[in-house]
């Protein structure tokens, strides 16, 4: 970050002031409160800078962890201000980060199952721990007890988004708190070939950053917090173009080569309506995540000529423009015919079916690519970690997926092999923790 450690909290407050206005005023004091509470709960060593006046220093220091003054070392390894590595995404806010945040280049989706005997009280403890460390990590400071704090020196816009699986509410004895309409997806028998190893989970940590080391190190730190409460079920890693190698703000391409994610709500009013749960109740300001692992049969896809590829998508490969337009964001004309007299955007085109008829019920898509080659058949194992956020899965995602399952020509080359859903609680303010509305 290129700044001395005792400046960090003040700078953070300034940034928050810019972003959330008056709510920032209590920032400094609240940080102290979180640090104290969490450290007491966990009994860990304090690695926070002195400016935080973290009461955790009173706790015993495990022999196998580093001495407290980690920030000095971090400063020595600091990342120059104004670089990709130094950029941060605020953790606190009405909503969690990593949802409307422009997609970072790398991601790890980590799902956990709660251990036996972990109920509401212990879950709350875990979420406090996680929230505290996420707040540190996302502001460029090491997590408590970080034995390799140098690796935390480049936040690289890291964000961590916490989610709850449908079964979690039962496990902690709060089935009534499950948000309305939040449940596992129905089966899509036409297309699904789901594998258990990429499905389900009680707890999700979506870790995103513009640096893969930051993702890995954040995962390591948060796994440390989580280990006693939950066991890792699966991890799915994804990537986009490295930050700076594509033009900023452009729609990413998937590994088939298509511009993927053109239609995404961007206006605040649309995001409010389509992404954030309107409430009432603890879930107000939360959202629901659908995570589908979709394998691409690139060998078969490669046998297709470009015009066939474009017909299947309904968009041009060159710039993502609909076949009835010239620019990516041109509104597709779903009734236009071409020289053949047939619809220019075919009935089987992905674009047409994803859109549906009537007022568009968009979702916030935030997909990543994956490449885990070789697959079990000794060939490529490539695809997409499809990730979308929507206020209501049943109303927004399911009808779209049903249309696509029934008629999308792309199904010839795409196979869903993993599926999971998570309720993403609203954000928290300084002093709070993610999920506090449910558990306090």
């Amino acid at each position: 970050m290129g700044e001395s450690s005792d400046q960090a909290p003040r700078r953070y407050s300034r940034r928050r002031l810019l972003l959330t206005g008056a709510a920032a005023a209590a920032g400094g004091a609240a940080t102290v409160a979180i640090g104290g509470g969490v450290a007491l709960a966990q009994g860990r060593q304090d690695a926070a800078p002195p400016a935080l006046v973290d009461t955790a220093t009173a706790d015993t220091t495990p022999a196998d962890t580093a001495p407290a003054d980690t920030t000095v070392g971090v400063e020595g390894d600091g990342v120059a201000a104004g670089t990709i590595g130094s950029a941060t995404v605020p953790f606190h806010g009405q909503h969690q980060a990593g949802i409307t945040t422009p997609a970072q280049a790398f991601a790890a989706f980590c799902a956990f199952d709660l251990r036996k005997g972990v109920g509401a009280v212990r879950l709350a403890k875990l979420l406090r721990l996680l929230s505290d460390d996420i707040e540190r990590i996302t502001s460029g400071r090491p997590a408590l007890g970080d034995t390799a704090p140098e690796l935390a020196a480049a936040p690289a816009r890291v964000s961590v988004t916490i989610g709850f699986g449908p079964a979690l509410f039962d496990r902690v004895g709060m089935p009534g708190a499950r948000p309305a309409g939040f449940a596992d997806l129905p089966a899509f028998p036409e297309i699904d070939k789901l594998e258990d190893r990429y499905g389900g989970g009680d707890l999700l940590l979506q870790i995103c950053a513009d640096d893969p080391i930051t993702v890995a190190h954040t995962q390591r730190m948060l796994l440390k917090d989580t280990r006693a409460f939950a066991a890792m079920r699966w991890v799915q890693r994804g990537f986009l173009r490295a930050r700076g190698s594509g033009s900023e703000g452009s729609t990413p391409r998937n590994l088939m080569g298509q511009v993927d994610g053109t239609v995404n709500p961007t206006l605040d009013a649309d995001v409010d309506r389509l992404v954030w749960h309107p409430g009432p109740g603890w879930f107000t300001g939360g959202t629901m995540m659908v995570l589908r692992r979709i394998r691409m049969d690139l060998n078969a896809w490669d046998a297709l000529d470009r015009s066939g590829m474009e017909a299947a998508i309904g968009r041009r490969l060159s710039n993502g423009a609909p076949l009835t337009g010239t620019e990516e964001h041109d509104e597709p004309d779903l009734t236009a015919t071409d020289a053949t007299g047939l619809l220019a955007i075919a009935d089987f085109a992905h674009l047409r079916l994803a859109r549906g008829i009537g007022p568009p019920l968009q979702i916030r898509r935030r997909p990543y690519n994956y490449d885990d080659s070789p697959g079990s058949d000794g060939d490529s194992d490539v695809g997409q970690v499809f990730c979308s956020f929507q206020a209501d899965i049943a109303n927004q995602f399911v009808p779209m997926q049903q249309r696509l399952a029934a008629g999308d020509l792309m199904n010839a080359w795409l196979t869903p092999i993993g599926s999971a859903v998570f309720a993403i609680p609203p954000g928290c303010q300084p002093g709070g923790f993610i999920g506090e509305g449910l558990l306090t």
């Binding site: 078969a300 066939g308 017909a311 053949t340 007299g341 075919a346 008629g407």
Partner: protein
């Protein structure tokens, strides 16, 4: 071109290597030029009415026959009679045969007394899952075949376009279809190959001269 163990001129060997490599490249390029034809997915083999033909009366059905089986996945045919809007028809699929029964279809302009051009557009999915789009024109009615088809007249005047056309090139079709894009691509390849061949010849000649100060040619000695 035996690999003489005591070839006294390493330069000549190198040149030979370069020439052989370039020739292999050239052959690869030539094969690539032919590849599109070999890899062609579904293509229309025949039709009834025949593309470019003149038939006396409006056909009761349209039959398209492809070079391989067609998937029964959202097959579509559109019939456009000049001066009228296209009418979309869901044909039946039977192996490589796609048939659209027109008897119960409301086709504006079908009963025109004057000779009139028909255009049949099709979009089908081949057995290997590839979407294939194309169109063909024919004329209905006695008398001279009309030249005006939908949009501007094709270059050939006979209004035949039975080649599958890429969907993305529909704009080109609108502007006047002037030949099979696959064919033109092929000519580019062949032209390119000839240019490369000429370049190789030039290089060989130049190298020979450079490597042969006084005692004559050595390559292939």
């Amino acid at each position: 071109m035996t690999s003489a163990p005591a070839s006294p001129h390493p330069g000549a060997r190198r040149l030979r290597f370069v020439v052989v490599s370039l020739l292999m490249l050239l052959m690869t390029a030539a094969l690539s030029a032919l590849a599109p034809a070999a890899l062609a997915h579904d293509a229309l083999v025949s039709s009834n009415p025949v593309a470019g033909s003149v038939v006396a009366t409006a056909p009761a059905s349209i039959e398209l026959v492809f070079n391989q089986d067609i998937k029964n996945f959202q097959p579509k045919i559109a019939v456009t009679i000049t001066g009228h809007d296209p009418v979309e028809i869901v044909p039946t699929v039977n192996g490589p045969r796609v048939t659209a029964d027109l008897t119960s279809v409301d086709l504006p302009g079908r009963d025109s007394a004057d000779p009139v051009s028909w255009r049949v557009g099709y979009r089908i999915i081949s057995a290997d899952g590839h979407p294939v789009t194309g169109l063909l024109d024919f004329s209905v009615g006695s008398g001279p075949a009309p030249t005006a088809v939908i949009g501007t007249a094709p270059a050939a005047g006979g209004s035949t376009q039975a080649e599958p056309i890429p969907v993305a090139d529909s704009a080109t079709v609108n502007a006047g279809q002037s030949g099979d894009p696959t064919t033109s691509t092929r000519w580019w390849w062949i032209g390119g190959a000839l240019v490369i061949a000429a370049a190789i010849t030039a290089i060989v000649i130049a190298s020979r001269r450079a490597n042969s100060p006084a005692d004559g040619p050595r390559v292939g000695s």
